[in-house]
């Protein structure tokens, strides 16, 4: 009977263990979230990025309540360790995501870190940031042959439809 098996099986528990304990986990996530709000795109280990995602989106939901709301301000002051980001959260991030209800963040996995630990890395960012996008937006080139032919065909159709009634 293998005695180490229970140590590897979670027995249905889904909570991730980060850092030295639950308090350490919250403190670490707080630091990562502060960095994310300041820089709007950060690169961490995949597990931490995944954990912080939930807290980042919840923080924006609280910020949407407005800075006059007592609970929202308490949450913001707790989660953001650098206090010059509290006005940024309420005046920049909350209005940015007014129209959206969910999905304020985007994560992408990166190649493993080049250190000895070869940790799985991920990048997490708030949508609508001013920096270059991770995946460049593909813009169709109008000068390709197929696009030119399609353009000519569309023009022809328009001319036919305009001349037919007359």
């Amino acid at each position: 009977m293998r005695l180490t098996l229970p140590a590897l099986i979670s027995h249905g528990r889904v909570a991730r263990r980060i850092g030295l304990g639950p308090q350490s986990r919250i403190n670490m996530l707080r630091n990562i979230l502060t960095g994310l709000v300041r820089h709007e795109r950060i690169e961490t280990t995949a597990a931490r990025a995944d954990e912080v995602r939930f807290y980042a989106e919840k923080l924006v939901d609280y910020a949407k309540r407005g800075d006059t709301d007592e609970k929202a301000m308490k949450m913001a002051t707790f989660w953001l360790t650098e206090k010059d980001l509290v006005p940024k959260l309420f005046k920049v991030l909350a209005p940015r995501f007014e129209t959206q209800s969910t999905g304020y963040t985007r994560t992408a996995r990166l190649p493993n870190r080049q250190n000895l630990d070869r940790a799985q890395m991920a990048v997490i960012e708030y949508k609508g940031h001013p920096f270059p996008p991770l995946y460049p937006v593909k813009q169709d080139n109008e000068l390709t042959l197929v696009n030119q032919l399609l353009k000519g065909y569309r023009q022809q159709q328009q001319e036919e439809s305009s001349t037919r009634p007359s």
Partner: protein, 199 residues
């Protein structure tokens, strides 16, 4: 007499130890050293005349610790370290040499071999190889570099730590003017042409 008996016994043992020092183990060697030391001490005492003889009675007897170390006479040599010798007997040890056939089957077992990855493909943008579910390292490094330069400009504009403004930011390249929508935003200027991959 106690002293003479001890002397003779020590003398005999010393002779034995002197002959067979190289072959005996450390304990026996130490034992023999101890014996010789005692012998020398007793001889010195006799010569100096400070020994307790029947003729001279002690002027003052004090209750205190022993001046000379007493040699414990054992029948056999006590074990060097009983734990180690006992331990060697119950340690796990292979009974037989593993044959090459058994070794081969273990080494070539499927679980132990390296798995072939079939999720590697070239990136459509740059052509470097990447895994399907992971971003291209080269493209990300390219984006990182440009972001770092933009961030340098931002820190220069802010002038110090903890001065994040409560307004949006917009990056403007050479030859561009900020549009109507970017009126209230903080404008970060980059002294280069807009890269093709940054729309």
């Amino acid at each position: 007499m106690d002293l003479s008996d001890r002397e003779t016994v020590c003398h005999v043992e010393r002779k034995e130890s002197v002959l067979t020092t190289n072959m005996m183990n450390l304990a026996a060697f130490v034992h023999s050293l101890r014996c010789s030391l005692l012998h020398i001490e007793s001889r010195l005492l006799q010569a100096s005349g400070l020994t307790l003889d029947k003729q001279l009675a002690p002027s003052l007897a004090v209750n205190g610790p022993r001046l000379l170390p007493q040699v414990d006479r054992e029948d056999g040599q006590e074990e060097q370290s009983p734990g180690l010798t006992d331990g060697i007997l119950w340690m796990a040890v292979p009974k037989k040499r593993r044959t090459i056939e058994i070794n081969r089957t273990r080494r070539r077992d499927e679980n132990n071999l390296l798995k072939v990855k079939n999720n590697i493909e070239p990136c459509t943008e740059c052509g470097h190889l990447k895994q399907k579910h992971i971003m291209c390292g080269f493209c990300y490094a390219k984006v990182c570099k440009e972001t770092a330069l933009i961030r340098q400009q931002i820190t220069a504009m802010e002038g110090g730590p903890l001065r994040a403004p409560a307004v949006e930011t917009v990056v403007v390249y050479e030859g561009e003017t900020p549009s109507e929508l970017d009126k209230d935003k903080r404008i970060v200027e980059r002294a280069r042409k807009r890269p093709a991959w940054f729309s």
